[in-house]
Symmetry: C2
Subunit: 366 residues, 2 copies
């Protein structure tokens, strides 16, 4: 272990990648565009075949009346919650403490929509029916994120989802699905996207997580809900004259990867088993329920990074360059399996983890 | 004149187009992408060379400290006004009654930012120093749109701009430029973009008007202003993981068309002279001051559309398919000159206007 290269540098030079679908570069867009005619007309402010056809297609897949394409999930989800709050005239919603709206959006929901969140459950566990049933305050909407990304992509049992949905319906609480990674969880639940969506009043899905598109989101629900969401989309500045670069690539990679989610899920389980055989590192969840999990190191970021660097250099395999400290002596990284995992010969993977385990052991013993 | 085809159908079949830069189709994006390497890395949430370099370039061209790329002008401008209102703790701005924020954004500024507009001037004329000086209410910011699109793209004299700017500076009123068509007015003023921008505290420019890009906007100002605008961009849902499809195309078409604005301006003046020789139609302004003007017909939409249809069919030249009624017996359309105008042989243009004039005369005489 020479430690001369940063983990990012060593990662960049690897020939194999454990996670993801490849580099986010211009070729990703070029490939998607090559599949459509040059004369294909742009969408124009939310109208035109290219956007309308895709919206209809996704509404059908999600089993909802209608759907709207948005440039981002941040915009789509704030708007969904706003519509439900306005309908009930209650400016309160409930969600997990590590919800995207709470920690990644600069408080857009509060600053732009003046909606107050009620945080359900502890940071490190999933929302349960009990949390929802114990709610003292009146809320317009409950947002559930499936899988719960910030805790490694955990999922409640499907029966728990069903009872939460029934509880909300009985009490006039709208249920919104943060389904940024909805297709990634279908193999575990053994359900269709429409079956899961049927438990929710509104559904958001993303096209640049497991699907591997450029950017973009779909928000689906009833016709009245969709109609209102289009007005808010314009207010937010999301009703662009042309969204086709995102729509065409979303459609292209959705068609390409929708059918590979079982493969990614199996890959994640296999990989997590490798990881859990090493010392000083465990996966969360212990057995993945989607294509993703977190790797938690019993080592500081400063201690694990040169080890990873050395393993990347020695094996030509890259795992992650994004190590984050969680405490003085602990750190973690996020792994999402995509196309790239299948490219790595199993022998090489074995070599990777043997070396990782060896170097971590040596480092712990120092 | 058989009148069998709608004006849109007849327009679609024309070989020549008087206005614009050509069809808004996927080829426009493919051409821009062909000019960059496949391995060019995506921007990632506002960082990376592709976005940072373009922001620096545009900040320099506009003579401002910094600039931020936005997916839309709607988003950029609401945010600019919000920052100025917050700074002064006055939730009021002034703008023209036909300002984009007032008539095209579903009241986003009011609904999301709770900013109240003060409408200056009458609908059919430009804002003057007198209007600004007579303001009774305290405002945080004055927005000026150059050219004033909804009245044919009119412009104040440059000296008027200078005195309005000086007046605002002296009174602590921020001046924001809606410069969606800023490059289109440089030939008339004989000024650089930086010289005009120097009169303003914040400047927005668009890349899909005269520049002919796909979508996208730049908001420029001081470093502190820009820093705040990035926070609001995330709140609005505009901080996409990848904006490069818009950035690369904006840069490509900016480089291509920035130097052609004088040509478009001369084309607009020449064309307006042709129009004004016809009966029952005049241009607004009488002599264009940019690449754009409006054509006002002394005829109803229902009367002029079949005439235009017939002229398009007979000459193979398309003028506009977007005729809008302004009254029972009057209508108008907007014309913006781009690359396409230069393709039309002058003899064919003459033929077009002789026939248009003849058919309008016959129709009026009926």
């Amino acid at each position: 272990m020479n430690g001369k290269k940063s983990v990012q540098e060593a990662f960049n030079e690897t020939a194999y990648r454990i996670a993801g679908n490849g580099n986010r570069d211009v070729q990703v867009l070029k490939e998607a565009l090559a599949a459509v005619e040059n004369s294909t007309a742009s969408d124009i402010y939310g109208t035109g075949e290219v956007i309308e056809d895709f919206q209809t297609k996704m509404a059908n897949i999600l089993g909802k009346e209608t759907a709207v394409f948005f440039p981002s999930g941040t915009m789509a989800q704030q708007i969904a919650l706003r519509i439900w709050c306005d309908e009930k005239e209650v400016k309160k919603v409930a969600y997990h403490p590590l919800c995207h709206l709470e920690i990644h959006e600069q408080d857009g929901m509060k600053e732009l929509h003046h909606i107050e969140p009620v945080l359900l459950a502890d940071k490190d566990r999933l929302i349960t029916l009990e949390d929802v049933a114990n709610l003292k305050e009146e809320i317009a909407c409950l947002l559930l994120e499936l899988p719960q990304r910030e805790i490694g992509g955990q999922l409640p049992e499907y029966t728990e989802l069903e009872v939460i949905s029934a509880h909300c319906r009985a009490r006039g609480i709208k249920l919104h699905l943060d389904g940024a990674r909805l297709f990634e969880i279908l193999p575990y639940y053994g359900k269709s996207a429409a079956e899961i969506s049927a438990l929710f009043d509104s559904v958001y899905i993303s096209f640049y997580k497991g699907i591997g598109g450029i950017a973009g989101a779909i928000l689906a629900g009833s016709e009245d809900f969709t109609k209102q969401s289009k007005i808010w989309k314009r207010r937010h500045g999301g009703d662009l004259i042309s969204l086709y670069p995102y729509i065409i690539s979303s459609d292209y990679y959705f068609r390409q990867r929708e059918g590979r989610m079982q493969q990614y899920y199996e890959g994640a389980k296999e990989l997590a088993a490798w990881v859990n055989q090493c010392h000083d590192v465990t996966t969360l969840p212990a057995q993945p329920v989607s294509n993703m999990f977190h790797m938690h190191f019993q080592m500081s970021k400063e201690q694990i990074e040169p080890i990873l660097s050395a393993v990347y250099e020695a094996t030509g395999i890259g795992l992650s360059a994004g190590i984050r400290a969680t405490g003085e002596h602990t750190s973690y990284c996020e792994i999402s399996i995509g196309d790239k995992y299948a490219d790595i010969p199993k022998e090489k993977l074995k070599e990777f983890f043997l070396l990782l385990d060896k170097l971590m052991n040596e480092s712990s013993a120092e």
